[in-house]
Amino acid sequence: METILSIRNLSVSYYTDEGEARAIRNLSLDVEKGETLGIVGESGSGKSTLALAIMGLLQPPARVKTGSIYYKGRNILSMQGEEIRKLRGKEIAMIFQDPMTSLNPVKKIRDHFIEYITEHMENIDEHKALEIARKMMKSVGISEERLDDYPHQFSGGMRQRVMIALALALNPNLILADEPTTALDVLVEAQILELVKRLKNEFSLTLILITHNMGVVAEMADRVAVMYCGRIVELSKTEELYKNPKHPYTKGLIESIPLLYNRSRKLVSIPGHPPDLRNIPSGCSFHPRCPYAFDKCMNVEPELEKKEDGRYVACHLY
């Protein structure tokens, strides 16, 4: 296995008038080439901040406090202007949640492609760029005539297809998809997920899929990292995670989802609510909501450690 992305001791905070919100706290994670890594967590868990950090898109009031993100051995966080712009698009590309706000409403789809391709590639003319655009539209299942349309002429699902086509236009290796189907209806969501699966194989991509939906992760990911309050609390192969969740938070998440194929199952809800990032509980940040919490949990923050069975979990129970 070749590690394509390696995050080491990353801490990111938002500095607001009401104080420092610690969005990511001392997080380390390796992404293997060719895998689909699911990152799940609720709002405020830090998953989107992590995506922005990987893309080098963090802006004030966010600031990286410590850590590094190595892509193929180079630290993204120490790259400057031109260097990081070359990385984006050609090496790492991102698919955002809301395709409506990520496309410019006064520009035709063809112009989105032309701008994106000519900005990031040297020595390429509009003609060549359009050729790529046509090819990409075809691979996401849209006829090339629609390159002349404006974003509002597309439905939500079609717009997300266009976003995917754009993201893949420069043939990147790593794709970051941040809640790519959250704004879509279930049938369209299913179509887009199928499309992403197919393209991932076709273009031999590495995929980081960020979502709050445990169902989407179960269907897509090879491994899953569960985030809570800026940290990874559990990391394991998808099947193992669902079969035998270790961290009480993961367990709670899985047990609190109603299932269509097992409707008689009693739901166990996690008590309380996610903490305020400006005021994170001491010790393990999940301890106020944890049914198994004991003394140590209140004082000592557990580290994400590899256990005997090869699984990673940040919990004093193991």
Binding site: E42, G157, H212, V216, V217, S256, R263, L267, R289
Partner: protein, 331 residues
């Protein structure tokens, strides 16, 4: 489903139609006089038994929210009848104030349905001021009790907080408490957990079920999430482009789905269990425009089983087994 109204039903909707006129620009008004309409709801009928939860499920644009709003009198229908607790709510003599006391609406987004400048206590007191004769002292007592009932405890501490001081789940509890405080008989819950964090979702669903049992409420649950409907509802109507395509008990809908659209919906829900492998039947394309809905069965352009008749005639909602209705020419 045009049974005569009896005492066992709290809500009876019959042949409900709602068209919204399409706003046109000045220039296109000059070019064409023809008015266009969004066919948001097109002859929808259902009934809800007293003390039961009925779910309207469907994708965005299926007309579920419009239907829900009409049933509490927030929108006037183009035609059709809504009877709540034995009274036709669109007859002239119906007192709006009486209707508000009986029927309440829980809006989807707790962030935008609470006044940011109003303390929780004030927000909950507001309906009591307008819709009850309780004295100031009594109102405070009712509010405090309601706060405890929805697990915002200690009540005294939540009473004087502002919405921004609450978590998303707590805000949704306040919104639910506000709808229930005047003891309505019928409540529409519009996507009550869509904006709530995953770990808090089960708490809110359980709260609604507990309150419903305790108060003997009748609930119309509007949701795009089939799993939420399966967990909460007694009966379900599946809507597509303004029409009900299938209706039945929760058991009937999920154990024996009949309409191709219901089948597609169920099979495309991502399953949170990697062991479960299914053949997905995803229909191609997306929901067409409700301004010019397809002729015949509205689902026909996307239906894998379509035949001639589907493109010409509109299928009726027929009862196939007791309480299980489907609108499809396959049956």
């Amino acid at each position: 489903m045009h049974a005569t109204f009896t005492d066992e039903f709290m809500v009876s909707v019959e042949g409900l139609v709602k068209y919204f006129p399409v706003q046109k620009s000045f220039i296109s008004q000059l070019i064409s006089r023809k008015r266009e309409y969004v066919h948001a709801v097109d002859s929808v009928s259902f009934q809800i038994r007293k003390g039961k939860i009925h779910a309207l499920v469907g994708e965005s644009g299926s007309g579920k929210t419009t239907t829900g709003k009409v049933t509490v009198g927030l929108i006037e229908p183009t035609s059709g009848k809504v009877v709540i607790d034995g009274r036709d709510i669109f007859k002239d003599e119906v007192d709006r104030r009486e209707l508000r006391k009986k029927a309440q609406y829980i809006f989807q987004d707790p962030n935008s349905s609470l006044n940011p400048r109003m303390k929780v206590g004030q927000a909950l007191e507001e309906p009591l001021i307008h819709l009850s004769d309780a004295t100031k002292q009594e109102r405070k007592e009712i509010v405090m009790k309601m706060l405890e009932d929805v697990n915002l405890s200690p009540a005294a501490s939540f009473y004087s907080r502002y919405p921004h001081e609450l978590s998303g789940g707590q805000r949704q509890r306040v919104v639910i408490a506000r709808a229930l405080i005047i003891q309505p008989k019928y409540v529409v819950a519009d996507e009550p957990v869509a904006m709530v964090d995953a770990s808090v979702r089960a708490q809110i669903m359980d709260l609604l079920i507990t309150m419903q049992k305790r108060l003997g409420l009748t609930i119309l649950l509007i949701t795009h999430d089939l799993a939420v409907a399966s967990y909460m509802a007694d009966t379900i109507s599946v809507m597509y482009l303004g029409k009900i395509v299938e209706q039945g008990s929760t058991e009937q809908i999920f154990s024996n789905p009949l309409h191709p659209y219901t089948n597609a919906l169920i099979s495309s829900v991502p399953v949170p269990d990697p062991k479960v492998k299914r053949e997905k039947q995803i229909p191609h394309g997306e929901v067409p425009s409700a301004i010019r809905p397809p002729e015949g069965c509205r689902f026909n352009p996307r239906c894998p089983y379509r035949f001639d008749r589907c493109t010409r005639e509109v299928p009726e909602l027929l009862e196939l087994e007791e309480g299980h209705f489907v609108s499809c020419f396959l049956y």
